[in-house]
C-alpha cells in the first residue's frame, strides 16, 4: 500500500515537474582555457559557473512559483515578463544572453567574415563598409553606461542589420519585436574586469579582432531570415 502510494506520488511529482518550464545551464562550447589570452580561464570559470549559473538557478526558482507559464520556452518567458515582472525578466534574459554570448566567441575567431559571403554582403549594405560596422559596434560596447550588452541585430522589417546597445539584462528582441539578435558582446564589468580592469575598449577591440565566431553569426542570420521571410534578395 505504502509503496504504491509513494510510486504514485513520485509519478505525479515527475509529471508535475514536466509541466514546469525549466531552463538549463548549457556547457561552454569550449574549454575554459580556449579563449586565452583574450579572456582568461579564470574569467570564463566565474562568468559561466557563477554568474550564468546563478541566473539560470534564480530563473528556475522564480518560474517554479509562477503559474501560467506552462512549458514556455525561455524566449516566451522573457516576452511575458518584459515590463511586468522585472525580477523574472532580469534573470531569464540574462540566462538567454549568456548562452548566446558563449556561442558568439571561439578560439582564433574574429577578423572579417570573408567566408560568410551573405553576412559580409549584408554588413556592407547595412553599414557601408565593414569598418563602419566595427566602429559602431565598438562604440555601442564602449558607451553602454554601466552594465549592458552590445548587439548586432537583423531588422526583419527593413531586412538590414543594425547595431544597438542595451542596459542590464535587456534583450533587443524585447525592445523591438522586429529585431533578431545575431551577435552580442557582454560589457558587464564581470565579463572583462579580471583581465582588463577599466580598459573596456581593449576588451571590445580584442573581442572583434580575435574572438567573434562568424559562423555562428552567419547561422543566426540564416535562421532569422528564414523565420521572417526576409532575404529573398540576399
Amino acid at each position: 500500500m505504502i509503496s504504491m502510494l509513494s510510486t504514485v506520488t513520485i509519478f505525479l511529482a515527475l509529471r508535475f515537474q514536466e509541466c514546469f518550464a525549466k531552463v538549463d545551464l548549457p556547457a561552454l562550447p569550449y574549454d575554459y582555457k580556449a579563449l586565452e589570452p583574450i579572456i582568461s580561464s579564470k574569467t570564463l570559470e566565474y562568468h559561466h559557473d557563477k554568474h550564468h549559473a546563478k541566473y539560470v538557478a534564480t530563473t528556475n526558482s522564480m518560474i517554479a512559483e509562477e503559474s501560467g507559464l506552462g512549458d514556455a520556452t525561455l524566449e516566451e518567458i522573457m516576452k511575458q515578463s518584459y515590463g511586468s515582472n522585472i525580477g523574472l525578466y532580469n534573470n531569464a534574459a540574462q540566462a538567454w544572453n549568456h548562452a548566446f554570448y558563449w556561442n558568439c566567441m571561439k578560439a582564433k575567431g574574429g577578423g572579417k567574415p570573408t567566408k560568410q559571403k551573405k553576412l559580409m554582403g549584408l554588413i556592407k549594405t547595412s553599414f557601408g563598409s565593414f569598418d563602419v560596422f566595427v566602429k559602431e559596434f565598438s562604440n555601442a560596447a564602449n558607451t553602454a553606461f554601466g552594465s549592458g550588452w552590445a548587439w548586432l541585430v537583423l531588422d526583419s522589417e527593413s531586412g538590414k542589420l543594425l547595431v544597438t546597445k542595451t542596459i542590464g539584462a535587456e534583450n533587443p528582441m524585447n525592445v523591438n519585436s522586429n529585431w533578431i539578435p545575431i551577435l552580442t558582446c557582454d560589457v558587464w564589468e564581470h565579463a572583462y574586469y579580471l583581465d582588463y580592469q577599466n580598459l573596456r575598449p581593449t576588451y571590445t577591440h580584442n573581442f572583434l579582432e580575435k574572438l567573434v565566431n562568424w559562423d555562428f553569426v552567419a547561422d543566426n542570420l540564416e535562421t532569422a531570415s528564414a523565420k521572417r521571410g526576409v532575404g529573398s534578395e540576399l
Binding site: 546563478k54 532580469n90 554601466g146 558587464w188 564589468e189 564581470h190 574586469y193 580592469q197 577599466n198
Partner: protein, 267 residues
C-alpha cells in the same frame, strides 16, 4: 620684449608651455577677477610670441568658467593599502586613479561642450549633453563622497551621538540598519549604489539605491550620509561575484566621523 598685464603678470614669455598653462589654471581657479582680464588678453591677442597652447587654454578656461571650471581628481585621505584586507590596494588604485579619474576627465569635456552650446544658444545640444553630464558628474560626485566615507578599519567608531540616536529611531538599532541597507544594496540590478540618506523634510534617515551613477541628492532629494559602490569594478578583484560578502564587510571601513559630520551639516 616682456609685456605684463594689469596685474604685473607676465603673459608673453613662457619658459615652458605647461608651466604657463599651470599658472593660468591656478590663477583662474584662484580668482575669477584676475582670470577674465588675463585670459581674454591671452585668448585674443594675436602674437607670434604667444604660444598656441596658451591661447587655447585661455579660451578653454574662459569658456569653461561659467560652469565652474575644471574639476580635478581629489586625493585620498589614506594610502591605497589602508583599507586592506577589506578592499585591496590594487582595487583602490584602479578604482581611484582610473575609474574616478575617467569620470573627472569626461565631466570636464562635457562641461566644455555645454558651455559652447550655451554660448551658441544651441538648446538641442544642451539637452543631448544631459546624459553625459549625469553619468560623469554623478560618477565624480559619488566617488568623491565614497572615498571620504571610508576609513581604515577601527580608526573611527559610531559613538553615542545624534547619528546613533537617529539610526536607532529609524531602524531600531544599528544591526537592523546594516541589514536593511545591505539587502537593498546587494539587490541592485547591474551597476549602482546603495546609500544611507537624510530626508530633510521628515528629519529621518532612509536607505536608498540608485542605478548607474545617478546622484542621490539630485535624483531623490536625500542628503547622502554614506554610500556603497556596487559597480562590479568596486569589488570584483577582491570578491568576484560574491557581492554580499563585500557589502557586509565594507561596514568595517566606514568613516563614522565623516558620516556624523554630514548629518550635522545636513540638518
Amino acid at each position: 620684449t616682456e609685456t605684463s598685464n594689469c596685474y604685473g603678470w607676465n603673459l608673453f614669455t613662457s619658459p615652458k608651455d605647461s608651466e604657463t598653462t599651470e599658472r593660468i589654471y591656478r590663477m583662474s581657479t584662484g580668482s575669477k577677477l584676475i582670470a577674465k582680464c588675463a585670459l581674454r588678453a591671452a585668448a585674443n591677442v594675436n602674437s607670434s610670441k604667444l604660444p598656441k597652447e596658451l591661447a587655447k587654454s585661455s579660451a578653454a578656461f574662459l569658456s569653461s568658467a561659467p560652469s565652474g571650471g575644471k574639476h580635478t581628481l581629489p586625493d585620498l585621505a589614506y594610502d591605497y593599502n589602508a583599507l586592506e584586507p577589506i578592499i585591496s590596494a590594487e582595487t583602490m588604485e584602479t578604482h581611484h586613479s582610473k575609474h574616478h579619474n575617467t569620470y573627472v576627465t569626461n565631466l570636464n569635456v562635457a562641461l566644455e561642450k555645454l558651455d559652447s552650446a550655451v554660448s551658441a544658444g544651441d538648446v538641442s545640444s544642451i539637452i543631448s549633453l544631459q546624459g553625459a553630464l549625469k553619468f560623469n558628474g554623478g560618477g565624480h560626485l559619488n566617488h568623491t563622497l565614497f572615498w571620504e566615507n571610508l576609513a581604515p578599519s577601527s580608526s573611527t567608531e559610531l559613538s553615542d551621538g545624534p547619528l546613533k540616536v537617529l539610526i536607532n529611531e529609524c531602524f531600531g538599532d544599528f544591526e537592523s540598519m546594516k541589514e536593511q541597507m545591505s539587502a537593498s544594496t546587494i539587490a541592485v540590478q547591474g551597476s549602482g549604489w546603495g546609500w544611507l540618506g537624510y530626508n530633510k523634510k521628515t528629519g529621518r534617515i532612509e536607505v536608498a539605491t540608485c542605478a548607474n551613477q545617478d546622484p542621490l541628492e539630485a535624483g531623490t532629494g536625500l542628503i547622502p550620509l554614506f554610500g556603497v559602490d556596487v559597480w562590479e569594478h568596486a569589488y570584483y578583484l577582491d570578491y568576484k561575484n560574491v557581492r554580499p560578502t563585500y557589502v557586509n564587510k565594507i561596514f568595517d571601513v566606514i568613516n563614522w566621523d565623516a558620516v556624523e559630520k554630514r548629518l550635522a551639516d545636513a540638518k
